[in-house]
Amino acid sequence: SAPGFRPCVPLAAPVAVFKLTADFREDQNPSKVNLGVGAYRTDEGQPWVLPVVRKVEKMIADDHSLNHEYLPILGLPEFRSSASQIALGEDSPAIKDNRVGAVQCLGGTGALKIGAEFLRRWYNGTDNTKTPIYVSAPTWENHNAVFSNAGFEDIRPYKYWDAGKRGLDLEGFLSDLESAPDHSIFVLHACAHNPTGTDPTQDQWKQISDVMKRKSLFAFFDSAYQGFASGNLDKDAWAVRYFVSQGFELFCAQSFSKNFGLYNERVGNLTVVAKDQDNLNRVLSQMEKIVRITWSNPPSQGARLVAITLNTPELFAEWKDNVKTMADRVLLMRAQLKEKLKALGTPGTWEHITEQIGMFSFTGLNPKQVEYLVKEKHIYLMASGRINMCGLTTKNIDYVAESIHEAVTTV
């Protein structure tokens, strides 16, 4: 028979969060609310182009001196260094020691990808396919696929979310750290855990760090929400910086999709903290080879925009302000939702709504209640009970609160 694709190729399940948005779009009901996809929305329920972004976009389009060449394989140098500084702090001792480098990548996904491909080839010896990768239970649904496709065969959950008490299962987390084989790789959420919105406290991070150091566990941070969690960049970077101060070599996959609103320009950065400059250079040289056979070199638009913003004091200040605007709106919606549920007398405790941080909240609603909300009330949320706080507005929050009340009391 003529060569071709297998006739029996199975139809892959659609990505849940995109299916949710597709269903939402098709829904004709005027009261519909989308609490699914993780993107910021204004109080009018619209995507928001950050004012600073609009300004810099225009600057770039009008700049005739810019060349249109390929970026270097590792990306725009001024983007990489300023992005790493955002994560580690400009006074980071590791930066001063010249042992911090970075690779510009295609969003947070791309940063995870390059990091994973590197670790599989070079982490400990030259074949790390059997090295366990630990991801939180639950975690962003794509973590598994990225590491698996990079060749890792053993991807395991570590205990994280305690459904009973609706908070962090620290004991379980620490226990899984203890029982992990030495040198295992742990994917840690730098802040604003997706999907639970529950972060360890500083004290809890210290405990986690102690075990990881003792057992030589590798810290691979995923930082997609810096600035979004508390509204303060430095505060949101505390965990990463603490690990650096404890002498860890680590990776930090940064995304600028959310905090710059640059979802579709794919702006990411893989920050590498190495033991010393020599090691750093060797790591980067291998990463360059990996990038070459993945996407060759990264896209310039988004990186240029971020670099200009971070490196220009007035623009940097304006950006921090824009980020705070987004974070503040989220905090307001959290406070109001909790207030309304309490006022309605909705059974259960709702403290977790304001205790959780970032874009997402793990409401604790069960699948049946979620189904009720989607089907009967046209409120779209993930089957896990995760809601995107940005989907709430002053106009729909009463409807949502009442609907949650109904779901909890009748289903």
Binding site: A2, F5, F18, A39, E69, Y70, E117, N264, W295, P299
Partner: protein, 380 residues
């Protein structure tokens, strides 16, 4: 004169204007400015497979609007991060969905001189066994199609063959349409075509002609993949605008869904800016005339280079310089000669003396021609 080249990047890769800079296709700046001030464009994630308008137009560009594959809905396109991204994704898709026998995992790539990341890209996708078929013939300074056909006919069944639709990298040497028909016959029997089309329109000056090999295979009913780049023909190097075309016989939605899964593990969704520009340009036929101008400039340079070399004398033939179109051209130099050009003359070329003709302009033409002449004259 030397200092001009000292800071030069390799005359290997990019399409350069007469001033030696990469340059956008003329309409691009205006379109970019429009995009930057368009209030209706919102910051949302793109669709996993890219901007629908872009993939639709890129598919039409490659196959022609009336292609049977398009009419019969047997084709889908994926916006990728450049041509490399398209090749990587295509390789991953093949690994995941191609063929039922386990002995197929061979990829054949044309024998090329330089360290080629092409092989590395397939290997990274899990396709370890990469073999080479003969292509460039040093004796004739062109393609030896007999050698190529022999190697293809003796390739393992179900093997995947990487073919340059036009604009062969790095030699610039092309197959005639008659040659292509013979290649397609062999492919049809037992091999799978993975086309690379990185400079459609730049080679012959005609978008249709440059895409002919792909369209011919489609007309024969073959399934195939085609990786397209919009770097050279639009000057959008930094924006990484690529496209992976998939022509199937059946089961389109299933393969498409598997492709979506793979994209999620690579870059989640592609970057917007460049693809938006390309989609806008492709929607206006007048814009495409400027692509022709680039091709014409390349041909002019080739003719002038040949003339210069002829005037410098010597036993060598130079017709092969003007035979192909497009960006690349091969002089068949040995390592010492290439070294000489790089070290002593500060002319940075690809191994074996392949070069990008658009990097040659009125200021450096004499220098380049004289240097090549020198290199050949001092043949060891």
């Amino acid at each position: 004169m030397n200092s001009e080249f000292r800071e030069r990047q390799p005359i290997g890769v990019k399409n350069l204007s007469k001033h030696g800079h990469t340059t956008w296709l003329p309409p691009v700046r205006k379109i970019k400015q429009q995009i930057s001030t368009d209030p209706t464009l919102t910051p949302e994630y793109t669709h996993i497979l890219g901007i629908p308008e872009f993939t639709r137009r890129a598919t039409q560009l490659a196959l022609g609007k009336d292609s049977p594959a398009i009419v019969e809905s047997r084709v889908f396109g994926i916006q990728t991060v450049g041509c490399t991204g398209a090749v990587r994704l295509g390789a991953e898709l093949l690994r995941s969905c191609y063929c039922s026998s386990s002995s197929w995992t061979h990829v054949f790539i044309s024998l090329s001189f330089l360290e080629d990341s092409l092989a590395g890209t397939f290997k990274a996708a899990g396709i370890e066994d990469v073999q080479y078929y003969r292509y460039w013939d040093a004796e004739s300074n062109g393609v030896c199609v007999e050698n190529m056909l022999y190697d293809l006919e003796n390739a393992p069944e179900q093997c995947v063959v990487v073919l340059f639709a036009s604009g062969h990298r790095p030699t610039g040497a092309e197959l005639s349409q008659e040659d292509w028909k013979r290649v397609a016959e062999v492919m049809k029997r037992q091999l799978f075509a993975f086309f690379l089309m990185s400079a459609q329109g730049l080679c012959s000056g005609s978008l249709e002609q440059d895409a002919w090999p792909v369209r011919h295979c489609v007309s024969l009913g073959l399934e195939l993949l085609c990786a397209q780049s919009f770097s050279h023909n639009f000057g959008l190097y930094g924006e990484r605008v690529g496209h992976l075309l998939c022509v199937l016989k059946q089961n389109l939605l299933a393969v498409q869904s598997q492709a979506e899964k793979l994209v999620q593990t690579l870059w989640s969704c592609p970057p917007m800016e460049g693809a938006r520009v390309v989609a806008t340009v492709l929607s206006n036929p007048a814009h495409l005339e400027s692509v022709k101008a680039i091709a014409e400039r390349c041909m002019l340079i080739r003719e002038r280079l040949r003339e210069r070399l002829r005037l410098l004398g010597g036993p060598w033939q130079w017709d092969h310089i003007i035979k192909p179109g497009g960006l690349y051209c091969c002089f068949g130099l040995n390592t010492q000669q290439v070294d000489f050009l790089v070290q002593k003359k500060h002319i940075y070329l690809l191994p074996n003396g392949c070069l990008n003709v658009s990097a040659i302009n009125s200021r450096n033409l004499d220098y380049v021609a004289e240097s090549i002449h020198q290199a050949l004259s001092s043949k060891r």
